[in-house]
Symmetry: C2
Subunit: 202 residues, 2 copies
């Protein structure tokens, strides 16, 4: 990839578009190294540059440092949340709950479990984790708040708890997924209906 | 600890109690090795015997093999679930939800995250994981079913989903625990009330 290096390292004249090929290679190298087990601390600009086939200067021209690059790279992992139709809060939530822990990029599966134990210890890890999950959290928050406005959900809704109830069972189930067949599995519909209706008789 | 070995290895006469000191040392050695990062596969009877200061024969006299010893050792990690008062389903659930992820033995914290990624791949890991959590799951199941009988909870209760809603948010929060102060934290009371009442207006 030495041709990419030379292109990317050439001084940028005003108006010349960023080398998206080099950007892409740098982001991919970062995610590959994390997916192969590198910790956030151990990850170095040197290693990323070597893997991407670019010079360190190319990276520093685009990102101020490792943390900024990391957040940018991780933020691209999940892709956009699914688009909700807005017909009913139940339909929208089933769609969003079904997407919890579903990873567009298979590297998420390798990167997330390594980030999680570090989240409580380091703010860099916490930021990285939030960069991955926040777009989807925001989509769910909006569905819930719209349904409060429309009267479908209670006015005193505890939004943070509601999001935890909807997402955590899918996350823990995906983490442990051992269920032999579909009947035993806790499907999004079952979660959403139980959360909406509650356990007490109505 | 050679005196323990010789005592434990002596042939047992009928009626003579098991050497609980050797049992204890073997169980502790197993848990220590796991907490230090040994995988279930890598753990060997040799290593456990060496760590406990007993002969391999002492272990085989008490457990048919590694898996049986492992399940026994892991089953002791959590201790008994908290005793529920049975006054109201809410009180009982707040107590049990508060105990989710609270570990009597600090080694659980090191052992569980290593077991989890293996659970879906190996039935030995799955059994080990279930040996740890099942006593507490059973306590919660009983509280829920009692409340269905008494009419406090709906007759068509989806018990598995209810347990997931009650426990998973605590588990994921404990795993990630980064909340700076008590106000932001999702406390057992908030979870139980949201699950019991549901998100729709009543």
């Amino acid at each position: 990839m030495s041709d990419m290096t030379s292109t990317a390292d050439a001084p940028r004249s005003p108006g010349r578009p960023r080398s998206t090929r080099a950007d892409e290679a740098i982001v991919e190298a970062t995610l590959d190294l994390l997916a192969e087990g590198s910790t956030v601390e151990a990850l170095s600009i040197e290693a990323i540059a070597a893997r991407a086939g670019v010079g360190k200067a190319t990276i520093y021209r685009r990102w101020p440092g490792k943390e900024a690059l990391l957040l940018d790279a991780l933020g691209r992992l999940k892709g956009a949340p699914p688009r909700t139709g807005g017909r009913s809060v139940r339909d929208d939530l089933v769609l969003l709950v079904g997407a919890v822990g579903q990873h567009v990029d298979p590297r998420v599966r390798k990167i997330m479990p390594c980030l999680v134990p570090e989240v409580s210890r380091s703010s860099a890890h916490r930021q990285a984790y939030e960069a991955i999950i926040e777009p989807r959290r925001q989509a769910m928050r909006e569905v819930l708040l719209r349904a409060v406005d429309s009267g479908e959900l209670r006015a005193d809704l505890d939004v943070e708890v509601a999001m935890a109830l909807l997402t955590a069972p899918m996350l823990t189930q995906r983490m442990l997924h051992w269920h032999p067949d579909r009947d035993e599995r806790i499907l999004p519909e079952r979660i959403v209906d139980a959360v909406l209706d509650g356990l007490r008789p109505r």
